[in-house]
C-alpha cells in the first residue's frame, strides 16, 4: 500500500485527457451533441475585398430542399456594429457580421444558409446571388507605405523606443544595414473554427473553439446586444488555437445569429478555405535592421524599424522589435513600428506575435554582423549579453540566456558537423530567444468531498498544451494527493474566470490560481481544527483525508496520522475554496523566458534544396510543470519555426486583396518529412518572483528564434543569405548565381 503521495510537478505525467482524445471521447466544438439536433449553416462568402452590396437575391436558396433560412444583413437581427464600442478590448468588441451591406474584406460573409444537412446548405448557398460595388482595396506594398504609429503594441510595448547615444563613426568596426521580409501567415490550427449555438427562452448556449472563455461571453453579449448573464459558452477541448482562437470569429457570430433567428440549434463549421478569410492571419512584415559593433565585438548600435499592415477597424499591431530591445546590450538601441490600415481579413496574434517574425529578422541580422566582424556567431552573442535590461537598466527576475547558449552549444556539439554526402553542404546555425513573461489575473475553485475526491473548476482552456494535466498535478501536489484523485473541469463560462490560453501566460497564471485555491482549502480545513493540529499536513490517500504532524528534526519523524473525519461531519462536505492571482502576485522586475536554438541543415549544391538534419534547443522558463507536455509544446514551436524559415507564406492576389493559396495543399506548413531530429533540454530554476508556482511561459519560446537558427545554418552551409522568408530553393539558387 502507498504510504505517501509523490510530488508530480516537474515530472512527465501523461496527459490526463490523452486517452479520451485518442479514443474519440473528447468532443470538440463541431462534435458537440446538443439536446436539439443542430441545423447546419453554410457561409456565402464575398468575392470582393471592400465595397457595398448593391443587389442580393436569396429567393432560390430559400426554396431549395431542406433550407430553413437564409440570413443576410436584411434579417440578421439586432447587432452592435463591428469593433464597437471603441473602449472595449479587441476580444470583447462586437464581432458582428451581416449587420450592414458594407463588405470589409474578401471572403467575408454575405449570407448564412441554414438547412437540415450540410449538403443542402452548401448547395443552396450556391444559389444566393449578389453584386458588390467594389472599391480598390488598400494594401501595404512598401516600407514607406506604413506611416501610422500604433497607439501601443501587442504585449503592451510602446510603438517607439530608444536609448543611449549613436556611436561615433570612428568607433565602428563592423556594420550591416539590411531589409528582411516575412510573409503573411495563418495560424493553421488543425481543428477548424466551429460553433454549435442554441437559443431557447432568451438564453444562448454556445459550444465553440476558443482560447479565452470570459471575453467570448462578453463579446457575444456586446455583438448580439444581449445580457451576458443569458449566455453560456463552453469550450472543453480546443484543437489548436495559435492565437486564432483568442477571440470569437464569424462561425460563432453566425451560428448565434442563426440560432436566435430560428430559435433552434445551429452549427457552423468553417471550411479550411473559409478559415483563411473568416479568422485572423498575421500580416506580412518589412523589417529594416542596422547594426554596428566596435572593439572586442561589442554591439554599439541596434536599429530595428518595422512596417506591417493593420486590418481596418481592428486595433492590433505586433511588437516585431521586442527582441531587438532586450536580447543584447548596446550603446544605442532604437526600435520603431509603423502600420498601414488595409482592407484584409482580421490581422491578429498568430503563433508568437512579434517575436516569431521579429527573431527571424533580428537574429539573422545579428548573425550577419558576427560574420561581418569575423567572429563566431555564438561567441558574438555571448559577448553581448546584458546583465540588466539593455534599454531600461532594470533587473531581470532571472536571466539565463548565457547559460542556454553555452550549455546548448555543448549539447548540440556546435560546429562539429555531420560529414556531408557528395553534392551536399552542411551548416550550423544558432539564435537566441527572449520571450516576455506576464502573470494575468486568473481564478479557480477547488472542492473536496468527504471521501477525498478533489474537483477543480476554472474557465481556463486546454488548447492541446496540457492544461488539464498540469492543473491536475498542481492540485494533487498542493493537497498531497495523487493525480488520479483530482478531476479538473475547464472551458465553461459558469466556472471562475481565468486568464485563458494565450501569450504564454496560461500555465503559470491559471496554475498559480489553482495552487492558491488549494492552499485556501487547506486553510479552511485548519480553521476548524484544534490548535495542536495547526501545523499538521493535510494528506489525501486511499479515500481518507488525514492530518499528519511532522516533527521538527533531522529524521522528519512522522506521527501516526489523524483522520479529518474525527473533526468534521459529512454535512460539512464538500469543502470548497477559491484562489485568485493578480499582478500583486508577481514581481515588477523584468521577466523573460530565455532560450538558445541550434540547427544543422544540409543544402543541395545543385538544386538549393534544404534538408533539416536536426534542431536543438536549450531553454530556461522557471519551474517546468510537466516535462512531457512542456517538451512537446516546445518541440511544436520549433517545428512551426522550421515552417516559418522554410515553407510557410500566404501569397496575396493584389487586385482583389484575396489569398492565392488558402488551403493546406498550397499553404505549406511543415510536414513530418520536413522535420528531422528535434530535441531540447531545460535549465531547471523555479522563478517564484514570476509566479506562485515558479513557472514562466513556454508557449511562444519554442518558436522564437527557431527559424533564425535554420536561416543562419543555411548561410553557414552555402554562404547564401536569404532575407525574404521563407527560404525556398529558388532564392538560394539566385544567391548562388
Amino acid at each position: 500500500m502507498t504510504t505517501h503521495n509523490a510530488k508530480t510537478v516537474g515530472t512527465p505525467v501523461n496527459r490526463v485527457d490523452g486517452s479520451a482524445k485518442v479514443s474519440g471521447q473528447a468532443r470538440y466544438a463541431a462534435e458537440h451533441m446538443s439536446d436539439r439536433t443542430p441545423l447546419i449553416g453554410w457561409v456565402v462568402s464575398s468575392d470582393t475585398a471592400v465595397g457595398k452590396i448593391t443587389s442580393l437575391n436569396t429567393e432560390q436558396a430559400e426554396q431549395a430542399d431542406g433550407v430553413h433560412a437564409v440570413i443576410t444583413y436584411k434579417n440578421a437581427g439586432t447587432l452592435k456594429p463591428f469593433s464597437k464600442p471603441a473602449d472595449e478590448s479587441r476580444f470583447t468588441q462586437s464581432r458582428a457580421v451581416l449587420n450592414e451591406p458594407h463588405i470589409r474584406h474578401f471572403g467575408a460573409p454575405v449570407a448564412l444558409v441554414i438547412a437540415d444537412t450540410l449538403e443542402q446548405a452548401r448547395y443552396a448557398a450556391s444559389l444566393v446571388t449578389f453584386t458588390i460595388d467594389g472599391e480598390i482595396p488598400d494594401l501595404l506594398t512598401e516600407f514607406d507605405g506604413a506611416t501610422q504609429k500604433p497607439a501601443s503594441l501587442d504585449g503592451g510595448f510602446e510603438a517607439d523606443a530608444s536609448s543611449g547615444d549613436k556611436p561615433q563613426q570612428s568607433d565602428i568596426q563592423a556594420s550591416i544595414n539590411e531589409t528582411y521580409t516575412t510573409p503573411s501567415q495563418i495560424s493553421a490550427a488543425m481543428e477548424p473554427h466551429a460553433t454549435v449555438a442554441d437559443f431557447k427562452d432568451g438564453k444562448l448556449e454556445v459550444y465553440c473553439s476558443v482560447q479565452i472563455i470570459a471575453t467570448a461571453v462578453e463579446a457575444l453579449a456586446i455583438t448580439l446586444e444581449m445580457d451576458a448573464a443569458d449566455i453560456v459558452v463552453q469550450s472543453p477541448f480546443v484543437g489548436g488555437g495559435f492565437g486564432s482562437k483568442l477571440g470569437l470569429h464569424y462561425d460563432a457570430t453566425l451560428a448565434c445569429i442563426g440560432a436566435r433567428y430560428l430559435e433552434r440549434a445551429v452549427k457552423v463549421v468553417l471550411s479550411r478555405r473559409q478559415v483563411f478569410y473568416n479568422t485572423p492571419h498575421r500580416g506580412h512584415s518589412i523589417q529594416k535592421i542596422s547594426l554596428a559593433s566596435g572593439d572586442d565585438h561589442a554591439l554599439l548600435s541596434v536599429q530595428h524599424k518595422s512596417a506591417m499592415p493593420k486590418a481596418k477597424g481592428y486595433e492590433f499591431a505586433e511588437a516585431t522589435g521586442a527582441g531587438a530591445r532586450v536580447t543584447y546590450k548596446s550603446q544605442f538601441i532604437e526600435s520603431t513600428h509603423r502600420v498601414k490600415d488595409v482592407d484584409l481579413p482580421l490581422i491578429d496574434s498568430t503563433r508568437s506575435p512579434g517575436d516569431a517574425i521579429g527573431s527571424l529578422a533580428f537574429e539573422s541580422a545579428i548573425d550577419e554582423l558576427a560574420h561581418e566582424a569575423g567572429v563566431d556567431p555564438l561567441t558574438f552573442r555571448i559577448k553581448n549579453l546584458p546583465v540588466v535590461h539593455p534599454m531600461k537598466g532594470t533587473r531581470f527576475t532571472t536571466h539565463n540566456l548565457g547559460e542556454c547558449l553555452r550549455q546548448g552549444a555543448q549539447n548540440f556539439k556546435w560546429q562539429h558537423k555531420t560529414q556531408p554526402t557528395p553534392g551536399k553542404q552542411i551548416g550550423h546555425g544558432v539564435a537566441s530567444a527572449m520571450r516576455m513573461n506576464v502573470l494575468v489575473e486568473s481564478s479557480a475553485e477547488v472542492e473536496l468531498s468527504a471521501t477525498g475526491e478533489v474537483t477543480v473548476r476554472t474557465d481556463m482552456t486546454d488548447i492541446g498544451t496540457g492544461t488539464y494535466t498540469i492543473l491536475t498535478q498542481i492540485a494533487a501536489d498542493t493537497l498531497n494527493t495523487s493525480v488520479d484523485n483530482v478531476t479538473v473541469k475547464l472551458g465553461d463560462s459558469r466556472y471562475p474566470a481565468s486568464c485563458g490560453s494565450g501569450g504564454s501566460f496560461g500555465a503559470a497564471s491559471s496554475g498559480s490560481a489553482v495552487k492558491k485555491a488549494c492552499e485556501a482549502l487547506i486553510a479552511n480545513i485548519k480553521s476548524s481544527l484544534p490548535p495542536a493540529l495547526s501545523q499538521a499536513e493535510v494528506q489525501i490517500l486511499d479515500g481518507q483525508i488525514k492530518l499528519v504532524s511532522i516533527a521538527q528534526g533531522d529524521d522528519d519523524e512522522v506521527s501516526s496520522p489523524v483522520l479529518l473525519a474525527n473533526f468534521m461531519s459529512d454535512s460539512d462536505f464538500p469543502i470548497s475554496a477559491t484562489g485568485k492571482v493578480s499582478e500583486d502576485d508577481t514581481s515588477d522586475d523584468e521577466q523573460y523566458s530565455c532560450g538558445a536554438h541550434f540547427a544543422e541543415v544540409e543544402v543541395d549544391e545543385y538544386t538549393g534544396e534544404v534538408r533539416l538534419l536536426r534542431q536543438y534547443g536549450m531553454f530556461s522558463a522557471g519551474q517546468i510543470l510537466n516535462m512531457k507536455t512542456a517538451a512537446s509544446q516546445i518541440k511544436g514551436g520549433m517545428v512551426w519555426g522550421a515552417g516559418y524559415a522554410l515553407t510557410e507564406g500566404i501569397h496575396h492576389h493584389r487586385d482583389t486583396a484575396s489569398f492565392v493559396n488558402p488551403d493546406f495543399g498550397e499553404y505549406h506548413v511543415a510536414v513530418n518529412r520536413d522535420i528531422a531530429e528535434v530535441s531540447l533540454d531545460f535549465l531547471q530554476e523555479a522563478d517564484y518572483a514570476a509566479s506562485p508556482v515558479g513557472a514562466k511561459g513556454i508557449g511562444e519560446l519554442g518558436i522564437t528564434g527557431a527559424g533564425a537558427a535554420i536561416a543562419n545554418a543555411i548561410y553557414d552551409a552555402c554562404k547564401v543569405r536569404v532575407r525574404d522568408f521563407p527560404i525556398t530553393m529558388d532564392k538560394i539558387i539566385a544567391g548562388k548565381n
Binding site: 553534392g423 543541395d604 534544396e609 492565392v660 518529412r673
Partner: protein, 341 residues
C-alpha cells in the same frame, strides 16, 4: 455541391447504356473530383462510379508488356513497380506524390486525368479559361510560382500535376481505351495530353464518353533510374520541377535514356530536344547543360516562375550526373539510384 445522378459501371454492360455527355464524369478514387465538386469547380450532372469494376483493378504481364488496370490504386502500383527493377522510376514517382492515404484511394486512370492545381482554377471567384472557357487567365500576369514554362498559351499556363504520368511518359507508356460503340483505342501517353492552345478545358485526346481501361508499359531495361522532385516542402506538395530519368551508359556514352519533366509543362513534358542532344553523347556537365538549353529555347516564364529554367538546368544536371556516375561504377545496373528512394 450540385445535385447529381449516380450510376455504376462494373465492366459488364456496355458503356453505351450510360448517359455519357459533357456533363458526365467517371468517378474512380474520387480524391480529386470530389474535392472539385465541393468547390463547384466541377459540376457534373452525372457521375458514373467505377468502384465495382473489379476487372480493371488488376496488374498483369506477358513476355513483352506490363498491363496496369485503370482502377489499380497508386499504392498497389507502387508496391508492384517496386519489385520490378525496370519500373523503379515509376515506383519512385508514385511514392513522391500525395500521401499514403490519397495513394490508397487514387487510381491509375484517375491519376492520369487529375486536374491542375493552378490556384485560380480552384478559386471560383477568379477568371479561368480551363474552368470557364472564355473568362480569361488569372495566372498569366499574377502570382504564378507553380505554373508552366513549356507548352503554355495566352489562355492557360497551368501545369499538369501528376508525378506518375511523368514517369510513364519517360517509360513510353500506352493508354488503352474503350468507346461506347465497343471500339478500343491505344494512344501513346506522349501523345495523350493536349497543350492548352485556345481550348485549355480540353486536356486529352479522350472523347467525353471514352473510358481508359488500362495502361501498358513495354518491358525493357531502363538502367539506373531516379525521379527527383523539387518542391516547396518535402512531402504533400506538387513539383516545382521534377526530372524522371533512366540512364544506361556503354563505353562512356549514353546508350539509352528515358527522360521526362514534371512541374514545368502544361502537360507531363517529354523533352525531345534535350534527348536528341544527350543520346550517344558523353554525359558531361557541359553536354547536359547544352541539352537543357536546347529544351529551354522554347520556354516562356511569367514572373513568379522565372526561377524554373535555372532550377530545371540544375536539377537535370544533378540527376544525370549522379545516374552516370552510378552507371560507370556499376556497369549494367538496373534499378533505383538510391535504395531508399
Amino acid at each position: 455541391m450540385q445535385p447529381f445522378t449516380l450510376h455504376h459501371y462494373n465492366g459488364e454492360k456496355p458503356l453505351s447504356s450510360l448517359p455519357l455527355d459533357t456533363r458526365s464524369r467517371f468517378l474512380a478514387g474520387g480524391t480529386n473530383l470530389i474535392d472539385l465538386m465541393k468547390l463547384q469547380v466541377e459540376t457534373p450532372k452525372t457521375l458514373v462510379s467505377l468502384a465495382k469494376w473489379d476487372k480493371a483493378n488488376t496488374i498483369s504481364e506477358d513476355d513483352n508488356y506490363y498491363y496496369i488496370g485503370a482502377m489499380v490504386t497508386n499504392s498497389d502500383l507502387a508496391k508492384f513497380a517496386h519489385t520490378q527493377p525496370s519500373l523503379s522510376l515509376l515506383a519512385q514517382a508514385l511514392l513522391s506524390g500525395a500521401t499514403v492515404q490519397l495513394r490508397n484511394r487514387a487510381t491509375t486512370a484517375g491519376n492520369l486525368l487529375q486536374r491542375t492545381r493552378c490556384y485560380y482554377f480552384y478559386d471560383t471567384t477568379k477568371a479561368c479559361n480551363k474552368r470557364e472557357p472564355g473568362t480569361g487567365c488569372s495566372a498569366y500576369d499574377s502570382m504564378n510560382r507553380i505554373h508552366a514554362i513549356f507548352g503554355t498559351s495566352e489562355s492557360c499556363i497551368a501545369t499538369h500535376p501528376s508525378d506518375m504520368a511523368v514517369a510513364m511518359i519517360a517509360l513510353n507508356a500506352q493508354v488503352h481505351t474503350q468507346q461506347p460503340d465497343g471500339n478500343t483505342r491505344q494512344i501513346a501517353l506522349r501523345d495523350f495530353y493536349r497543350e492548352p492552345g485556345e481550348t485549355p478545358h480540353i486536356e486529352t485526346q479522350l472523347d467525353e464518353d471514352e473510358l481508359i481501361t488500362h495502361v501498358s508499359i513495354k518491358k525493357k531495361a531502363n538502367g539506373t533510374q531516379y525521379y527527383h522532385k523539387v518542391r516547396d516542402r518535402s512531402s504533400y506538395a506538387f513539383a516545382l520541377v521534377s526530372v524522371a530519368a533512366g540512364l544506361k551508359i556503354e563505353d562512356g556514352r549514353i546508350k539509352d535514356l528515358s527522360l521526362a519533366f514534371g512541374g514545368v509543362g502544361t502537360k507531363p513534358w517529354y523533352p525531345q530536344k534535350a534527348i536528341s542532344v544527350l543520346e550517344g553523347a558523353e554525359p558531361t556537365q557541359e553536354v547536359i547543360l547544352q541539352s537543357a538549353e536546347a529544351e529551354l529555347s522554347e520556354a516562356k516564364t511569367f514572373g513568379s516562375n522565372d526561377f524554373k529554367p535555372e532550377l530545371l538546368r540544375r536539377t537535370l544536371t544533378k540527376v544525370l550526373l549522379e545516374l552516370a556516375e552510378h552507371q560507370v561504377k556499376h556497369p549494367g545496373h538496373e534499378g533505383a539510384l538510391y535504395d531508399n528512394a
